[in-house]
């Protein structure tokens, strides 16, 4: 046994020693190579090890995330498993069934991809065939006049009711609600018309309407449209042509050239002008003042509207044409030139004849407009004719695009909304009626007695700030500089030099 052990031990050892002797050099060479590999790994692949380590960390994080999701899902499963005890899934309640049906209906509607046009059509169908809406304007502000030493706040509202009766017919009414001095609201009806479009070139307008003479009454008088607060003198408190009339119009337009080259016309008939004869105002019974017969005077002011005319003979007639000579594509701006005439009997057999010419030009931020008006009023007896002339020119410029040096960019957006304005207007007439002169201010009138002078002149400076296209804060300075001359026809006294006056108005106006 010992021999066996010895042979096994030493016999094997002898072979192993021999093998070791042969393999030792190779082992030494291999070890040297491995040492070189390890050394290279230590020096050059440390980044690789870091990356492997990061991947391991990422795998650990992913595993943790998966574990949390599995846990969350297990919780949901447990919650769902608890539900059958409350409501069996195979027996849905009536409410749930209704909800499911509604959801299906909504899903079907959404899938139908309703367009804005079809939605609008559905709304129109729901609203019905006829249409009604209210637009218009409102204004409130502050007025100060130096000569009459009056300062006051004021307010005015002018809703416009529109009722579309059919595709050809529209009813329109403007109700003016103002708050006069010391009293409750005053209501007026300056416009109430039925408009019928006969064809593309003609329409009929019937009712009470803004006088289509010039551009002022029809197009420029709304609060938010007028760049100034006050009206220019020929259309102000001592106007040359009545502001409205009751009657019938025919009007239309025609494109005679390229796009934008159009001409339009308006012909109308109305009740005609009427004049205040203030010398006898209030002297009729039961007034305690002695009665007197009304007498026409040179310089009488016009009444707002002549509703039921009592004078005989023919009504008044008017005509207006406008031409736009510049095509839209020319980029030369928009030019309008117009001419108007208005002739009517203001008293039996006695005519007021008037005519005017006007222009309007705008290009980019600049807008200018102006008018010239001449009126001729026949007077009774030996009184000479009551001739008057009036005019105005105005210009405004939006500061959009003006960039003073060193201005911060945040200020530019504010500057863009400012519009400085200037206007010069005047009226010439032989005489004024002293008792017609009013110093009660109101929307569009600064209360200065100077505007009633026979040779009234006014320079208006304005500064508007536009919050939106139809929302504006307006500021206006009026310099009244009437010329000398003329007389007061009710007293016979000569007017002589009238003192200059100053007024300031500030107004917030909106168009809705």
């Amino acid at each position: 046994m010992l021999e066996l052990n010895r042979r096994l031990r030493f016999g094997c050892s002898r072979k192993m020693v021999a093998a070791a002797i042969w393999t030792l050099p190779f082992a030494i060479i291999l070890a040297g190579s491995m040492a070189r590999v390890v050394s290279a790994a230590d020096s050059g692949d440390s980044a690789l090890l870091i990356q492997i380590k990061q991947e391991i960390d990422q795998l650990k994080a992913d595993r943790e995330k998966d574990r949390q999701q599995i846990q969350h899902l297990e919780q949901q499963i447990q919650a769902i498993q608890k539900q059958p005890a409350q409501a069996p899934p195979n027996q849905p309640s009536a409410t749930q069934q209704a909800t499911d049906q509604q959801l299906k209906a909504l899903a079907a509607k959404v899938a139908a991809q309703s367009s804005p046009q079809s939605f609008a059509q559905e709304v129109n169908d729901y609203l019905g065939r006829y249409r009604f809406t209210i637009v218009g304007g409102a204004a409130g502000g502050f007025i100060y006049d130096r000569q009459s030493n009056i300062n006051t706040y004021n307010l005015d509202l002018e809703p416009i009711l529109l009722w579309q009766i059919s595709d050809r017919m529209l009813f329109e009414a403007t109700i003016e609600a103002s708050l006069p001095s010391g009293g409750a609201a005053d209501y007026e009806l300056p416009v109430a018309t039925l408009q019928y479009f006969l064809n593309d070139y003609m329409e009929v307008v019937a009712g009470i309407f803004d006088q289509p003479f010039g551009d002022w009454y029809e197009d420029q008088s709304p609060f938010w449209v007028n760049r100034f607060i006050t009206a220019p003198l020929p259309y102000g408190a001592n106007a040359l042509v009545p502001g409205s009339d009751i009657g019938l119009q025919l009007r239309g337009a025609y494109q005679w050239g390229a796009v934008g080259q159009i001409a339009d016309y308006t012909v109308w008939s109305g009740n005609g002008p009427g004049y205040n004869q203030a010398t006898c105002t209030g002297n009729t019974s039961p007034s305690p003042l002695p009665s007197c017969s009304t007498r026409a005077l040179v310089g009488d002011t016009l009444v707002g509207v002549n509703n039921i005319r009592l004078n005989t003979h023919t009504p008044a007639f008017g005509a207006r044409i406008r031409v736009y000579p510049l095509p839209v594509e020319s980029e030369l701006g928009r030019l309008e030139v117009g001419a108007s005439t208005y002739d009517g009997k203001w008293l039996n057999g006695l005519w007021l004849k008037s005519w005017g010419a006007d222009f309007n030009y705008f290009k980019g931020n600049l807008q200018t407009r102006g008018e010239w008006i001449q009126s001729y009023r026949q007077m009774p007896g030996s009184i000479g004719a009551d001739n008057r002339q009036g005019w105005y020119v105005q210009a405004g410029y939006f500061l959009a695009g003006v960039r003073p040096p060193l201005m911060p960019s945040s200020w530019a957006a504010i500057l863009d909304k400012f519009e400085p304005l200037i206007r010069y207007s005047g009226v010439n007439q032989r005489a004024s009626v002293l008792s017609d002169i009013s110093t009660t201010p109101g929307i569009g009138f600064n209360g200065s007695p100077a505007v009633f002078a026979p040779h009234a002149r006014e320079v208006a400076l304005g500064l508007d700030y536009w919050f939106a296209p139809s929302v504006v804060w307006q500021n206006e300075f009026n310099f009244e500089m009437p010329g000398a001359g003329g007389f007061y026809s009710d007293t016979g006294a000569r007017v002589g030099a009238v003192p200059n006056d100053r007024a300031f108005l500030s107004q917030f106006a909106i168009g809705f």
Binding site: R168, L170, N199, A253, G260
Partner: protein, 96 residues
């Protein structure tokens, strides 16, 4: 004789005027291409025509049915040619 002549003129004038097309009744019969052309023309005219008197007001300020009424009102107020008024209306309603 004078009355007969006046009556004749009135009847002829009425016949001529009522024989033309109306204001908006043709809008529904327009093709998509015609509407597109009208919209493009309206986009060109809107800033020019409206700014002639006042700041042009954008389409989103009113609903389509309100624009129908407002443009009828403005066609009268500014004596706009019917075709141009239709183009501006199409633009205002389509630019909402």
């Amino acid at each position: 004789m004078k009355t007969k002549a006046l009556m004749f003129i009135l009847v002829v004038a009425a016949g001529i005027t009522f024989s033309f097309t109306g204001w908006a009744q043709t809008a529904g019969a327009q093709s998509a291409a015609e509407k597109r052309a009208l919209f493009m023309r309206g986009a060109e005219l809107w800033p020019v025509y409206c700014n002639t008197c006042h700041n042009a007001r954008p389409g989103p300020e009113f609903s389509p049915s309100e624009w129908n009424m407002i443009m009828m009102h403005m066609r009268t107020q500014a004596n706009l040619p019917a075709q141009d008024a239709r183009a501006i209306l199409e633009y205002l309603k389509g630019s909402r």
